[in-house]
């Protein structure tokens, strides 16, 4: 596969880039949902982010990228304890994928031809410790969605079928993208995504031209282009790594907690997941920006992406939920 476009060279789309960086800092945030038009660089950004992150250390030959020999599932029969580094996995989950391919299944052909009972790991195994990217997530079949929800929440993929009983770790950051005009996402799935951002194609000609120019340069002379942007990418990588370390030391004062709760109440969001994510993402942002405590400013920046997809839909509100959140945030966090 060819080199992926450098993350720092993506023009604009600041919200999307920020949301992705935050999940890289704190994978427990619960994924990003990117809704927007076609051709706005959604999948480019996911791949670029994974290329930006430092490689992970995993046991050689382990199908689920385990970090140590102890974590390797016993069905994989891994003999070596050697660690190798591999790039952060990004697994595409295409529309129309079968359940077998997602969870893994008995390799039935091998069972028939050779009489061996072998488990063939699926996409969830490959995505462990990395990213699972679903393009057109709103068109995904319901039974696959249910399955993903279950695994994303528990972090464990359990396969109980055809005489197999197998479980393995499946902790991944779910990144979904789609075009809302083509179909809505069920509220249950919406709520499971930690952050959601809306992207639109840039409406400024200069910005569009810049996109085309960079992409054309990238295609013409990939190596030279990568060299130019490498330094920027490394800067982001360093900040992400520093933020990961600082995450535990970042304070969330009592006042901030109160603000989170007030904001959530003011918006009438269902459940508590909204404010939990809000706080967690704001903390990641504070760590990323090198601040020692979470402040109003962080909350204000995070509120649209953490809350906008958790509001009750109002079919006649043309302004969209992002505007509603920004309005509420202005009121409450003023």
């Amino acid at each position: 596969m060819s080199a992926s476009f450098p993350f720092s060279a993506i023009v604009g789309q600041e919200q999307m880039k920020l949301a992705m960086i935050l999940t890289a800092i704190d994978p427990g945030l619960g994924g990003v949902l990117v809704f927007g038009d076609r051709g706005t660089g959604k999948s480019t950004a996911v791949r670029a982010l994974a290329a930006l992150l430092p490689p992970i250390r995993a046991v050689e030959g382990c199908p689920v990228n385990s970090a140590s020999k102890r974590d390797c599932p016993d069905w994989a029969n891994i003999s070596s304890a050697k660690l190798t580094s591999r790039p952060t996995p990004v697994v595409d989950l295409p529309l129309g994928v079968t359940e077998d391919r997602v969870t893994g299944a008995l390799d039935i052909e091998r069972a028939l031809t050779q009489g061996e009972k072998v488990f063939e790991p699926g996409l969830l195994a490959q995505a462990n410790r990395g990213y699972l990217y679903i393009d057109e997530v709103n068109l995904l079949e319901d039974h696959i969605v249910d399955l993903l929800l279950d695994v994303a929440q528990s972090g464990i993929n359990a396969v109980e079928r055809e005489g197999l009983s197998i479980r393995h770790a499946a902790r991944f950051v779910l990144v979904g993208s789609g075009n809302p005009e083509e179909g809505e996402l069920r509220p249950q799935l919406l709520d499971r995504f930690g952050l959601s951002v809306e992207v639109r194609s840039p409406d400024n000609v200069d910005e569009r031209i810049e996109v085309i120019r960079r992409r054309a340069e990238f295609e013409r002379d990939t190596r030279a282009f990568m060299k130019v942007w490498k330094a920027e990418d490394m800067k982001i990588r360093k900040s992400i790594l520093a933020a990961r370390r600082a995450l535990g030391k970042t304070d969330a004062p009592e006042e901030t907690l109160r603000l989170c709760a007030e904001l959530s109440l003011g918006l009438g969001a269902d459940g508590l997941r909204g404010e939990l994510t809000l706080l967690r993402a704001a903390r990641a942002l504070a760590a990323y920006q090198g601040d020692s405590a979470v402040t109003r400013d962080h909350l204000r920046q995070i509120a649209p992406m953490a809350m906008s997809h958790r509001l009750r839909r109002d079919p006649l509100d043309e302004a969209g939920s992002v505007t509603r959140v920004i309005r509420a945030a202005e009121d409450i966090l003023a």
């Binding site: 031809t113 057109e136 085309i212």
Partner: protein, 561 residues
């Protein structure tokens, strides 16, 4: 500048470009019904770089991604992997491309995004305007050409020789576009309301290809014009106008003003050139372009994933169908009993031919696959106008239709719900049910009279549809009304506001992509009902004196059962 070109020449130019740079341009869509013209085009496909494969919309994962070659494995007594189409660069030609399911389209799109040098030639044979290739593929392939109204005689021209193409391919790496050319192409795309950024990238690439073909180091105006014509004509969503664009285009993303300013700032000198190119592209647009744009916009919501619950044949769940022979390709499940049964009669024979045979010898041809017919229950939502004078008669007929449909519910697995609107709001008279008894009791007393709060009624139906969907039903909408709304959502009377609200809610509702039918019950069916049907994207039926039988039959026919 150039001689007027026919669609055939355009198709040839596009194909030439794809043959020179298959991996960069990703391919093209050719829309033409089967016939001599398309045959002539297919003959030209032999200039595409090898390997060439013909694929079909039922392409399996196994063929695409490769997998275990079962016959070779059995013969060799060890695992033999079969390479898939996605593994190596190839030119893939797909007839009947309009039948591509979203699932396959997504996999093909993923394959194209991986940049492994695949080119996809989609031969779209759709008859209706909305029978077409999925948007995810249309977006990624560089060209879209329609060959219509051509006769075989128009197709005299041929592609350049293979040697010319090879030479151009070799030169392509040396072609460098000038920096301002990217800017020109981006600005032109904005004029046509093309929001995706893939389009200008593909156009730039195509311009380089045309320059390479002509033996130039840098694309010139002619190359840019040709590339823009070929790439943008099929993607335009609006006509460029010096004045503010017409408001027919509801999906318009960009504000016209900043664009114009931006274009002026960045390229005052090229303004003239851009205008020329824009005119050239505008000339390429089909005459019914605006109509189509409006249609496309109104239909965009009707494309749904296969999880929507309509009837489908599958191999997961549902009513079992007879199993049938086939290959295991990851999407299918084996029917062990049927497989053993089909192998059983030959065991003696097979044992004799082998020395140390296992107890059961299976050949690939014995494998039987399990199939099910999976169909989720339909939820028919009757949305009935209970207003004004003729309400009583209309309600009685709707009641009759509900009861008729319920009577067949066991056979068809339908559920029925009834929402009535009158006065200042809508009421759910009958929540989704399959019980005839309950329905009769609920329907016995029926309010009528008052204004026509159409918007409120539609909102009620939308709520019901979402509820139904959450319960795994596939909702369908049957609206009985004269379409003359006179009460707005706020409950205030006033025709203008009521009509505006109704339009808004109807368009929101159409996003759900429900199958539906509007039955116009006005004494003189008029444009109101038809307009409502258009907003909803449903079928329109005028039945001024409909009785229960007619309504139930019409609903059945319109909903495709």
């Amino acid at each position: 500048m150039r001689a007027p070109v026919t669609q055939w020449d355009l198709a040839l130019r596009a194909l030439t470009a794809v043959a020179i740079d298959p991996g960069g341009l990703k391919g093209m869509i050719l829309r033409a019904r089967a016939g001599p013209v398309r045959q002539a085009f297919e003959a030209e496909l032999s200039s595409l770089p090898k390997p060439r494969h013909r694929i079909h919309p039922g392409l399996s994962d196994m063929q695409l991604y490769g997998g275990l070659d079962i016959s070779a494995s059995l013969a060799a007594q060890k695992l033999v992997r079969e390479a898939g189409l996605a593994d190596a660069p190839a030119s893939l030609i797909m007839p009947m491309a309009e039948r591509t399911q979203p699932g396959l389209a997504a996999k093909l799109a993923q394959m194209l995004d991986a940049d492994r040098g695949h080119a996809l030639i989609l031969l779209d044979e759709g008859a209706d305007p909305d029978e077409t290739v999925p948007a995810s593929l249309r977006e990624r392939l560089a060209f879209g050409i329609e060959l219509e109204g051509l006769s075989h005689k128009d197709c005299a021209n041929r592609l350049p020789d293979a040697a010319v193409l090879d030479a151009a391919r070799a030169r392509l790496a040396l072609v460098r576009p000038a920096p301002e050319q990217a800017a020109q192409l981006a600005a032109i795309a904005a004029h046509f309301g093309i929001s995706s950024l893939r389009a200008p990238l593909l156009a730039l690439r195509a311009a380089c290809v045309f320059a390479a073909l002509a033996g130039r180091q840098t694309p010139v105006e002619e190359d840019i014009t040709e590339a823009a014509e070929l790439v943008y004509a099929s993607r335009a969503t609006r006509l460029p106008e010096p004045a503010p664009p017409p408001d027919e285009d509801p999906r318009q993303e960009e504000q016209p003003e900043p664009e114009d300013q931006g274009a002026d700032d960045s390229a005052p000198r090229e303004g003239v050139l851009e205008d020329r190119i824009i005119e050239a592209i505008a000339a390429q647009l089909p005459p019914d372009f605006l109509e189509r744009t409006v249609q496309k916009a109104s239909r965009s919501g009707n494309f749904r994933g296969s999880g929507a619950g309509a009837r489908r044949k599958g191999n997961r769940r549902g009513r079992p169908l007879p199993s049938r022979p086939g290959r295991l390709d990851g999407t299918t499940r084996i029917d062990i009993i049927a497989t053993l049964r089909s192998a059983a009669p030959f065991q003696r024979l097979r044992q004799r031919n082998r020395k140390c045979a296992p107890r059961i010898i299976l050949y690939p041809s014995d494998i039987r696959l399990r199939r099910f017919e999976d169909k989720s229950d339909r939820l028919l939502i009757f949305t009935v106008d209970a207003s004004g004078s003729s309400a009583m008669a209309r309600m009685a007929e709707a009641k009759g239709a509900v009861e008729l449909m319920l009577a067949q519910a066991y056979a068809k697995r339908d559920q029925v719900a009834l929402v009535a609107f009158r006065g200042s709001g809508a009421d759910v008279l009958l929540p989704p049910t399959r019980s005839l008894v309950q329905a009769k009791r609920r329907l016995a007393e029926l309010p009528g009279g008052g204004g026509t709060p159409l918007a409120a009624g539609l909102l009620g139906a939308a709520g019901m549809a979402e509820l139904g969907r959450a319960h795994g039903l596939s909702p369908a909408l049957i609206v009985l009304t004269d379409g003359r709304a006179n009460i707005g959502l706020s409950g205030e009377p006033g025709r203008t506001q009521a009509a505006a609200d109704a339009q808004l809610t109807a368009q929101q509702l159409s996003r759900l992509g429900l199958p539906g039918v509007v039955i116009d019950t006005a004494a003189r069916p008029g444009k109101d009902g038809a307009a409502l049907a258009a907003w909803l994207g449903s079928t329109y039926l005028a039945l001024p004196r409909a009785d229960a039988q007619k309504i139930s039959a019409a609903a059945d026919a319109a909903l495709g059962e």
